[in-house]
Symmetry: C2
Subunit: 167 residues, 2 copies
Amino acid sequence: MKQTRPTHLRDLLIIKINSLFYIETQIIKALPKLVKKASNRDLKKDFEYRLKENKGQVKRLEQVFKLLDEKPKKVKVEAIRGLIKDAEWLIKNIKNPPALDAALIAISQYIEHYEIAGYGTAAEWAHLLGETEAAELLTQTLEEEEGADEKLNDLAITTINERALNE
Amino acid sequence: MKQTRPTHLRDLLIIKINSLFYIETQIIKALPKLVKKASNRDLKKDFEYRLKENKGQVKRLEQVFKLLDEKPKKVKVEAIRGLIKDAEWLIKNIKNPPALDAALIAISQYIEHYEIAGYGTAAEWAHLLGETEAAELLTQTLEEEEGADEKLNDLAITTINERALNE
């Protein structure tokens, strides 16, 4: 992230929105690999659904930029780059399909939780700054991320982990 | 992460435990900087408390290694390295102390959520593998991380964010 030096809550919110925008675009680039590598049909479908959902979340962030009278700036977030590198390592090294499915869920939950923390903070800051409409958009995405994490939990507990254990 | 090629759930659990061990040691290295840079007394105290808590979590992971009859292996987790790099960028670039406190909480919540996802997966896998004692230890840490995240939320909402808004 290279920017001018920020000092106040509004600046922090702008940095956060720019970071989330970068994070979403990185996830959108990475998700097709996960779709391709998932063996379980429900998991594959879930990743395909997330890809669509993420594109909607990018549109919401574009609305937030407009509401804040800002334009996206070029930032680089090291954490999401690291998360994706770790995912690539797993994809490369885990050859057993049921085990890879379990690992893909684990890495996706890392990413969902990362986004939950990010959108949680952004929504709270927007709310505090009186940016009610922006706060609502950010909360919508936050709720989607929480739902995505629960869905992954369900998939892990009901099917995927058992298969990784037995196959 | 450089290791032999894993295939099954037990191997995944070992990778996860090694990753968590690496993650904890990186956090223990990074936390003193956060203690030093926090201006708000309660936040400073909270970071000091987390440092002690993290050291206890490392001891728990050492017990888990013993229970699984394994020894820690050298792994590298890119995500936590990225999270810490992003934190360092914020510390370097945010000069206003109340804004920096708000940013430090945000980055800590990223880290807590990252650990919640990691320990959640590890506890579930250990449980499924019949490693009940290991699962219990991992669940204890998971609950501490959830508590830490709630505490940070409280601090943000009651004090820190308001100050970043007004000072």
